[in-house]
Symmetry: C2
C-alpha cells in the first residue's frame, strides 16, 4: 500500500527528475504552499525556477478536533512550481500521477475550471482543480500576478492535496485511518496534535494576544520593507496572515476588520514583491533570465491543386471553462466569417465547434486562389492642367498615354487600372487564421509561456489544413501543422491528420466528440438510459448543469452511481447543492420528482467504469457524511441555542454581532407591520438563527433553507418556519421572493438594516466594488416590495430612517438621503432593464421609496398613454409649466381675475382641487383633473398672461402655477416625453 511518506517521496523524486529543486516547508505557519517564499517570491521577475516541496498548510478555520473525516487544521500540500511554463505541464502532471501508481487512463482525471485568487497577497491565476473520479486532488494554476505585480514569465503552480489523494488510493474514509508509514496510521501519529491545535484555534487562542501579535508583525513587516529587506519582511507578512487566521477562527474578525486587514496585507505583500523584484535586479538575477520561445516562422506554400477544398482550423487548448469555450466558439465564427469576407477567396459555409480542449472551424469549398481583380486608382479630374496629369502618371509609374477616364459621382477623372492576380488560398488563409487565432480573447485572459498570446487558457497547438495541405499559420511561437491531439490518456495522444476532409472523422475515431450538441445528446440519452428502470433525470431543471458538463468532457461517458438511502433523510437542498455545485452530478428523481439515492456523473473517455463509479461514490459519501454529521449535530441544537451563537459572530466591528443585527431586524420587521401577527413575532425572534448552524457555516448557500428545516424540527409552526426561510429571500437575482407577509417584512427589515448600517460605516458601493453586497440588498428591497402590493403603504425611505434609528452608530440625514438616491438609481435601472421607457421610469421615480406604487403608476401610464384625454391633460399641465417661472407659488388673488377665460380656469382649478383624493393614483387623477384641459387652452388663447400690470400678471401666473402643480405628487411631469 502506498503510504503518505511513500507518496511524498515518489512525487519529490518525480519532480526532481524533472529538474526541480527541493526546498523545505516554510518555518513559520502558512495557510498554503503558495505563501512559501519558494513560490511567492520566486514567481516574481524573470529568473527561471523549478521547485518541489512539501508544505504542511495550516487552516485554523478547518479545525474540527480531528472529528471530521475530511477536514484537518493542518493538511499536507506538495507544491510544484515550474517557471517558465514548460509547454506541457498538464502532461508532466499526469506523469506524476502515474509515478504514484495511478492508472490515469482507467481513472477519470479531469481539469475543472478554477480561478484562483488570494486577494490578501495580491495574487491570482487561472487554472483548474484536478479531479480524480470526482475528487479534487490538485490545484493547478497559471500564476498571473503576485503581490499585485504581473508575472513575466508566468509560473505553473501545482498543488497536491496529499491526504485526499492518499485517502482515495488507500480507500479509507477518515484521515486518521490513512496509513502514514508502514504500520502506522495518521491518527496514531498526528491525532493528538490535530485535536489540540483545533482546541487552540477554535477555543483557546487568546484573542487580545493574537491581536497584539498581528499588530507587531505588521509593524515589523513595514519596518523591514522600509529597510529594503524583502525576505524577512515577507516572513512577517506570513505571520500577520497566521495571526489573522487565528483571530478569524476564534470568531473575532468582523467584516470590516477583514477588509481592513486584507488591504493592509495586500499592501505589505505588494511592497515586498516590488522590493524583491528590485533586489533581484540589483543582484543581477543570480539564477539567470528566462528566454521566451522564439516566434514561429511561417513558410511559403505552393498549392498543389486548383479545385476548391475544405478548410479545417483547430485551435488546441488546455481545458477551457465551459462558458469561455462557448463564447470562444461564437467569437471564432464571427471573426473567421468577417475576415474571410475581407478576402477575395470564394468559400462555402463556416461551421464551428468547441470542446474543452479545442476550437474548430470547418469551411467548405474554399477556392484554390482568390479571384483576380482590377483595382482603379483615381487621379485628377479629366481636363486638369497638364502638369497635374503628368505628376499623377509619374507617381503611378505609367505613361500619360495609358491613363484612362472613369466617372466618380458623375465627374470624369483620370484613372489608372491595375490588374491584380488573386493569391493562393494557403497564403491568404495563413494570414486570416493567424489573426483569428491571435485575436482570441475571453472574459478573463491569462498568459503562459507564449510571448505574444493571451487567452482563457493556454493555446498549445494549431491544425490548419486546406484539403491535404498545411496552411502556413504562424501565431507568436505557434506554427500550425497537421498533428492534432486527442485524449491525453489515449495510447497515441497525438494523431496526424491526412486532410481537412478527414479531420472530423479522425477526431471521432479517436473518441473526441467535437460537436457540443452531439455531446449533449450523448449525455442526456446516456444518463436517461442509465436510470431508465428506476427514475429519470429532470433535463429541463438540470439544463444549466448539463450545458456545463457538455463543455467539461470531450468523450462523454455517463455512469451511474448510488449512495446510501439513509442520506435521503438529509434535506433535498443539501443533497442537490452537493451534487450540482460541488460535484456536477445529475440528480435522479422518481416519477413524483423525489430524489432517488443515485446520481449520474459524466466521465471523460473510456475509463474503467467500476473504478470511476467507486471513486465518485466515495467522494459523494464523504461529502454526505460530512453534511449528515453537521445536520445531526444541528438538529440536536435548539434554535434558541443556535441563535445565541450569533453573539460570537461579528457582523462588523461598528455594527456589533450577528445577534445584534438579528435583534434589529426583528424590531424593525415588527415596526413595519401595522399589527404584528404571532407568526411574525415568533419568526422575528428566530430570524437568522441558522447562521449558528454548522451545516450553514459549511454551505452558506443553505442559509434560510436550513432555518426552515431546523425550525420545523424544533416544533415551530410551518408558518413560522416558512417566514424564517423567506427572510433570506431573494438570495440572488432571479431567486424566489417571500410569498407570505411575515417573510416579506423580515426580508425587508434584513436588507434595510444592512443598507442603513453600512451606508453609515462603510459607505455605499461605488463602481464595481461592493464587498458587503449592498447593491444586492437594495435590489432585494425593491423586488420584495414590488412583489407585495399589500405592503405598498410601506415607504422604503421611511423604513430606512427607522432602520437607521436602530443602528448603534449615527446615521446622518445626508447619509439617509444618499441611500434614498442610491435606491432610486437602482429602481430606475431595474425598470429600464424591464423595458419601460426611460421617460416614464423617470416620471415615476419620486416613488422609488414605494416601488410597488411606482409599478402601479407605470402600468397606468402604459394604458393612459393611448388615452387622448390624459394626453390633453398632460399637455395642459406641461403648457402651464413652460410659462410659469421657477419658484412661482401656486397662489393668487381671484379678485384680480376678470377675463372670462381666466375666471373659467380659476373655477375649474378650484373644482379639481376639491375633487382630487390625495391618495389617488393616476387613473383617479386623470378622471378628476381631465376637466381642466379645456379651460387651460381657453385661457391661453384668450388671455395675455404677461399683463403690464404687475398684480394682474402675478395673479395669472399664480393661477397657472396651480395648474402646473396638479398631479405633481404623482408624476415628475417634466420627465415625461409625450
Amino acid at each position: 500500500m502506498l503510504t503518505t511518506q511513500d507518496a511524498l517521496a515518489r512525487l519529490t523524486a518525480y519532480w526532481t527528475d524533472q529538474g526541480c529543486l527541493v526546498v523545505q516547508p516554510m518555518n513559520t505557519e502558512v495557510g498554503a504552499g503558495t505563501l512559501n517564499p519558494a513560490t511567492f517570491l520566486r514567481v516574481l521577475g524573470p529568473e527561471p525556477w523549478r521547485v518541489v516541496y512539501v508544505e504542511p498548510s495550516v487552516r485554523p478555520d478547518d479545525s474540527r478536533y480531528g472529528e471530521n473525516p475530511n477536514r484537518l487544521q493542518t493538511h499536507t500540500q506538495l507544491q510544484v512550481i515550474l517557471k517558465p511554463d514548460p509547454g506541457n505541464p498538464q502532461e508532466l502532471y499526469l506523469g506524476s500521477l502515474t509515478a504514484l501508481g495511478i492508472d490515469v487512463a482507467a481513472h477519470d482525471v479531469r481539469f475543472v475550471e478554477d480561478n484562483w485568487a488570494a486577494p490578501a497577497m495580491g495574487a491570482w491565476g487561472l487554472g483548474w482543480e484536478v479531479w480524480l473520479d470526482g475528487l479534487e486532488i490538485t490545484q493547478f494554476t497559471y500564476f498571473q500576478q503576485a503581490g499585485g505585480l504581473n508575472l513575466d514569465p508566468p509560473s505553473v503552480e501545482i498543488t497536491y492535496g496529499i491526504e485526499r489523494i492518499i485517502m482515495a488510493l488507500q480507500g479509507v474514509t477518515h484521515f486518521k485511518d490513512i496509513e502514514y508509514a508502514k504500520g502506522v496510521s495518521y491518527g496514531e501519529v498526528f491525532g493528538q496534535s490535530e485535536y489540540e491545535m483545533s482546541r487552540y484555534y477554535l477555543d483557546d487562542a487568546d484573542v487580545p494576544a493574537n491581536r497584539q501579535l498581528l499588530e507587531i508583525y505588521a509593524a515589523e513587516a513595514q519596518r523591514l520593507i522600509d529597510a529594503g529587506l524583502p525576505v524577512p519582511a515577507h516572513t512577517y507578512v506570513l505571520k500577520c496572515s497566521q495571526a489573522f487566521n487565528v483571530l478569524d477562527s476564534r470568531g473575532a474578525v468582523s467584516t470590516a476588520d477583514r477588509a481592513a486587514e486584507f488591504a493592509r496585507m495586500r499592501r505589505l505583500a505588494g511592497d515586498v514583491a516590488k522590493l524583491w523584484q528590485a533586489r533581484r535586479e540589483e543582484l543581477g538575477h543570480p539564477l539567470g533570465v528566462v528566454a521566451p520561445p522564439a516566434p514561429a516562422a511561417g513558410f511559403e506554400s505552393a498549392p498543389q491543386g486548383t479545385a476548391p477544398r475544405m478548410l479545417v482550423f483547430e485551435v488546441g487548448t488546455e481545458e477551457m471553462p465551459p462558458g469561455e469555450a462557448r463564447a470562444a466558439r461564437a467569437q471564432l465564427l464571427r471573426e473567421l466569417t468577417e475576415r474571410l469576407g475581407g478576402t477575395r477567396l470564394a468559400h462555402g459555409d463556416v461551421r464551428v465547434h468547441a470542446t474543452p480542449r479545442r476550437l474548430i472551424a470547418v469551411v467548405g469549398d474554399v477556392a484554390a486562389r482568390e479571384v483576380d481583380h482590377v483595382r482603379t486608382v483615381k487621379g485628377p479630374k479629366a481636363g486638369a492642367p497638364q502638369q497635374a496629369v503628368a505628376g499623377f502618371a509619374r507617381s503611378q509609374g505609367v505613361a500619360v498615354e495609358s491613363l484612362r477616364t472613369a466617372d466618380f459621382n458623375g465627374v470624369p477623372h483620370l484613372v489608372v487600372e491595375r490588374h491584380e492576380a488573386g493569391r493562393a488560398a494557403p497564403a491568404v488563409l495563413g494570414e486570416v487564421l493567424a489573426k483569428v487565432a491571435g485575436g482570441l480573447r475571453s472574459a478573463k485572459n491569462m498568459r503562459w509561456n507564449d510571448p505574444g498570446l493571451s487567452f482563457t487558457r493556454p493555446i498549445r497547438w494549431l491544425v490548419a489544413l486546406w484539403g491535404d495541405e498545411i496552411v502556413p499559420v504562424a501565431v507568436s511561437a505557434l506554427l500550425a501543422g497537421r498533428e492534432t491531439r486527442v485524449l491525453r490518456t489515449a495510447a497515441q495522444p497525438r494523431v496526424s491528420v491526412a486532410s481537412a476532409e478527414t479531420f472530423m472523422e479522425t477526431l471521432a475515431i479517436n473518441g473526441v466528440v467535437a460537436d457540443a450538441d452531439d455531446r449533449r445528446e450523448l449525455i442526456v440519452t446516456g444518463a436517461q438510459d442509465l436510470v431508465w428502470d428506476t427514475g429519470r433525470i429532470d433535463v429541463a431543471g438540470e439544463s444549466a448543469l448539463i450545458d456545463q458538463i457538455t463543455y467539461l468532457v470531450e468523450q462523454p461517458t455517463p455512469l451511474l452511481g448510488t449512495f446510501d438511502e439513509r442520506y435521503l433523510e438529509l434535506p433535498a437542498a443539501v443533497l442537490t447543492t452537493v451534487m450540482r455545485k460541488h460535484q456536477r452530478y445529475l440528480a435522479v428523481r422518481d416519477a413524483d420528482g423525489a430524489l432517488l439515492p443515485m446520481f449520474v456523473t459524466v466521465a471523460n473517455g473510456q475509463v474503467d467504469v467500476e473504478l470511476v463509479r467507486a471513486g465518485n461514490e466515495a467522494v459523494l459519501r464523504a461529502r454526505y457524511e460530512d453534511a449528515a454529521f453537521f445536520y445531526r449535530a444541528d438538529r440536536e441544537t435548539p434554535p434558541a441555542e443556535m441563535r445565541e451563537r450569533l453573539r460570537r459572530l461579528t457582523f462588523t466591528d461598528r455594527l456589533g454581532s450577528m445577534a445584534d443585527r438579528a435583534d434589529r431586524i426583528a424590531a424593525l420587521a415588527t415596526t413595519l407591520a401595522d399589527e404584528p401577527s404571532p407568526t411574525l413575532r415568533r419568526a422575528a425572534a428566530l430570524v437568522k438563527f441558522d447562521l449558528g448552524a454548522q451545516l450553514v457555516t459549511e454551505m452558506t448557500s443553505l442559509a434560510g433553507v436550513m432555518a426552515r428545516d431546523y425550525a420545523l424540527n424544533a416544533g415551530e409552526t410551518p408558518a413560522v418556519a416558512q417566514a424564517v426561510y423567506e427572510a433570506e429571500l431573494p438570495r440572488h437575482a432571479g431567486d424566489d421572493l417571500p410569498a407570505g407577509v411575515p417573510g416579506a417584512l423580515l426580508s425587508l427589515a434584513d436588507r434595510l438594516d444592512l443598507v442603513a448600517g453600512l451606508s453609515a460605516t462603510v459607505g455605499l458601493p461605488t463602481g464595481s466594488g461592493d464587498p458587503f453586497a449592498v447593491r444586492r440588498a437594495v435590489l432585494g428591497l425593491l423586488a420584495v416590495h414590488r412583489a407585495h402590493p399589500e405592503l405598498s403603504g410601506i415607504s422604503l425611505t421611511g423604513a430606512l430612517a427607522a432602520a437607521a434609528a436602530l443602528q448603534p452608530v449615527e446615521v446622518t440625514p445626508e447619509m439617509l438621503a444618499d441611500a434614498g438616491d442610491f435606491l432610486a438609481g437602482r429602481l430606475e435601472q431595474v425598470l429600464v432593464e424591464e423595458g419601460h421607457p426611460v421617460d416614464r421610469v423617470r416620471a415615476v421615480l419620486p416613488h422609488a421609496g414605494r416601488p410597488s406604487f411606482a409599478d402601479l403608476l407605470l402600468a397606468q401610464l402604459g394604458r393612459l398613454i393611448a388615452d387622448p384625454g390624459f394626453l390633453a391633460l398632460a399637455e395642459a399641465i406641461q403648457r402651464a409649466r413652460r410659462i410659469v417661472p421657477d419658484g412661482t407659488a401656486a397662489a393668487y388673488d381671484p379678485a384680480l381675475l376678470k377675463e372670462p377665460a381666466e375666471v373659467i380656469l380659476h373655477e375649474a382649478v378650484q373644482a379639481v382641487r376639491a375633487e382630487l383624493d390625495p391618495g389617488t393614483d393616476l387613473a383617479g387623477f386623470t378622471a378628476a383633473a381631465g376637466r381642466i384641459t379645456g379651460p387651460v387652452h381657453g385661457f391661453f388663447s384668450d388671455v395675455f398672461v404677461m399683463a403690464d400690470e404687475p398684480a394682474l400678471r402675478a395673479a395669472r401666473l399664480g393661477l397657472l402655477a396651480c395648474v402646473r402643480d396638479l398631479g405633481s405628487d404623482l408624476l415628475d411631469w417634466p420627465r415625461l416625453r409625450l
Copy 2:
C-alpha cells in the same frame, strides 16, 4: 557529484528503510531539530518512535551576512530519532554514511565525547560529535532527559550537519559554492536570504517588538499549559526561544535576562513535557509501549580441565570519554581484585587495560576450582542441657553423636564441622564478573536500551574466557561469550576468540592496541618520526592532549598535515587554541619552540592517509581562515572603536553595559593605586576593549591575549599592552597571575566590580550554583593580592566598598558585610587546602581583606610556633582572656593597684603599649610584648583577682583585659590552639 538535495534524499531513504517515519520540519523557527515536537515530545514516555526529518535550524547568532564561509544563520540539520536504542545505532549511522557514498574504512570516522545539554529545555544527553577526518559532521546523543523528565526508554538522536558534510564531500570551501542541486549553487538559491536574514538578526530586528513578542508567547504558552494542551503550548515555547535568540543576536540580552529567560523556558518546557506524558497515558499510548530486552539467562558450565588457566574479561562499550575510560580501568582493577579476594579461587596478577571501546581484565593462573574448606558451626557450650544440644543437632541436620567440641575464646562449645567442596572456576567467576560489570559507574552515567545498566556510554558486549571456556556472565540483558569486536571498519568487525591466552593476540592481530602505554608510545614516536627532519612535538607541553588522544583511538595512526605558512601570522595562542581545543592536533615546533606550519593528527585504524590528511587540512584551513578573517578585521579596528562597541554589550540589566563595567574598573583601579602611573591610566582606559573584537567573540578564551596583540598593533606601549592582558588574569584556577602592578590593579578592580555589583543584584553564590562565576572572581582577588605583597596595603574589603560606591545600584552595608564574609570563607578554604593548620588559618582570618598580610602572619606563626618566648606570651594572653568576663573594658584605675605583682604587671602593660608599633607584624609584636609574660605569671601566682572589694576587683580585671587585648589586631587568639 552528490548535491545537497541528493544527500537529503539518500539519508531520508536510508532511514526510512530502517523503519523511520518521515515528518516535516517545524513550522515555526527552531534553533535545532531537537526542538521539533517529533523529537522533544516524542522522546518522552514509553512509546516507540523512529523518525527522520530535515530541520532548517535558525541560529540568529550565527548570522554573518553570508560572508563567513562556514557560518550560516540557517543551516540544515537532518535529524534521526531511534527510540528505543536499537542496540547498534553507531553501526546504523555508519551505514548511513556509506549510503552517502562515504568509504568509512578509508576515512577517519571518530566518535568524540560530547555531553549535550539544552538547559532552557531541561534536556541533556551523552554521546559524541562524529568527526570525519577531523570535521564535526554529526551530533550523536543518547537522550537522557527532556523537559526535566527522565527518558525511559532513552532515545538515540542523530543530527547531521548537512552543509558541513556536503562541503567536505564536494571539496568546496564556502557554503555558497555548494552544489545544492544539479547545476545550482547554494549561494545562487539562498544567498540573498542569508544576507537579509543576517541583516534582520544583527541589525534590523526591532528590540522592543521582539521583547513584546517574547512576553506574549510566554503568556500564551502558560495559558495553554493551564488549558492542558501540550502541543500548542510547545509551539509557543519554541516561539519564546526564537524571540529570545533574536534579542540575543541584537545584543539586547543581559546575563541576568538570560538566566531569567532560561529559567522561564525551562519551567514552561518542563510543564509541557509533563503534560504531554500525562496526555499520552490518558490516550492509552497510541503507538504502543516499548518492551525492554529480556534479562540474559546464565548457564551452567562444567570445567574441562583442572589446570589453572588465564582469565580474560572484556567489557565492550561504545566510545568512552578519555577521562572516563581511565577511571573505569582503575575501577575495574580495584573491584575485580577485591571481589576475587572474596572467593577462594587461587589466581595470579590482575592486569587491566582500557581503550575507548573496551575495558579488559587479564588474570593469570586462575585455579580450576576454589580450594575446599571446612566450615565450623558453633553450637551451645559444652555441657549445655541435653535439650539444647539435641535442638542444635537437629537444626544442623546431624546426629548428636557427630557433634564435636571446639574452643571459642577458651570456652569449649559443641560444633558441627562442614566440609565444603570448592566450586568450579567458571561458576565463581561468572558471579564475580557479573557484579564487576554491573557495578561499573562513571562520573556521569547514562542509560541505553539495557534495562539494568548505567555507565558513561553503552556497554554492548562481554567476553569472558577462562582458558578456552566461556565464563557464564549474565548482566542484565547481556550475556558473555567469546566474540569480541574490533574496529568497526574492519572487514570482519566481530572476531571469535579461541581462549583467554590468545585474547590479547587476537586483538593485536586485528589492529587493536589494547594497552594505553603502547598506544601512547605509538603516538609519541610516530608523531616525532613524522616531523623529525623539521621539528619536534613538545611532548611535555602537550602531555595532557597526548593522554587524551591515547584514549581517542584504538589503533593510533599519526599522520602529518600542513597548513599555509601565512596563518603563522596569527598569534600563536590562536593557532594552538584551534589545534588543541578544537581539533586535538599536536602542534609542531622548531628548535626554538616556534610553531611550524604543520600538525600531527592521530587517526584511528588503517585509513587512507592521503584522504584523511587532506580532510584534516581542509578543516584546519577553514578554521584558520575564519580566525584570520576576524583577526584581520580586528586589527583594522582601533582599540578605541572596539572599546566603543562595549556600549552595545549588556553586562547585566541592572549593572549596565560592558562599557559601563569597564569604566568602573578603570576608575577603581586608578583609585587603588597610591599614585597611578601613566601605564595604568592608559591600560585602564583600554581595559576589556577586546571583548568588542570579533575573534574574541568567537573564542572567548582568547580575551586578554588578543587585547595585548591588538594594543601592540595599535601602537600602545608594551607595558600598557601587557597590563590589559594581565587585567584578565587569572582566567581559571592555576592560571598565570598578573606580573606587573598595573595589571594586578586592573585585575583586582575587575573582580571587585563583579563581586560588588552581583552581590547587590543577583546575590552571592550558594551551593553549586554560580552562574556569574563570583566564586572564581573572589579566588582571583585573593590570588592576585597574595601574589603582590607590594599591594598588601590595599584592603580588599575596603576596596569592595569603593567598588560598591561606583555601582549604579545601591549596595547596602549588609551586602558588603556578606561579601566580606564570603571572601573570608574562600580564603580560609584556600589556606587550609594549602596545608595550613585550621587553627592558625582561623587565627589570621580577620586579615582576609589583606590576604598577603595574612600570608605573612601565617608564615611568622609557622616559625614562632616553635619559639618558647612566643608560646609563653601566647599562653599569658590566653590566661588573661580566660579569666576576664566578656565585655570587660581594657581600662582601670592604676591607683587602686597596691600589690607588688599587680603594680609590676601594670608597669609592664604600660611599657608594652608604649612600645608597640601599630602596624607591626607578629615578629615585632612578639619582640615587643614578650616582656609581659613574667609579670602575668607573677600576677596570677600572687594576686587574688576576685577581691571582695568591687572597685579593686574591677581594676584588676581591667588590667588583665589590657593584657587580653595585646595583639588582638593581629590574631584571633582564641582560635589558636597551641
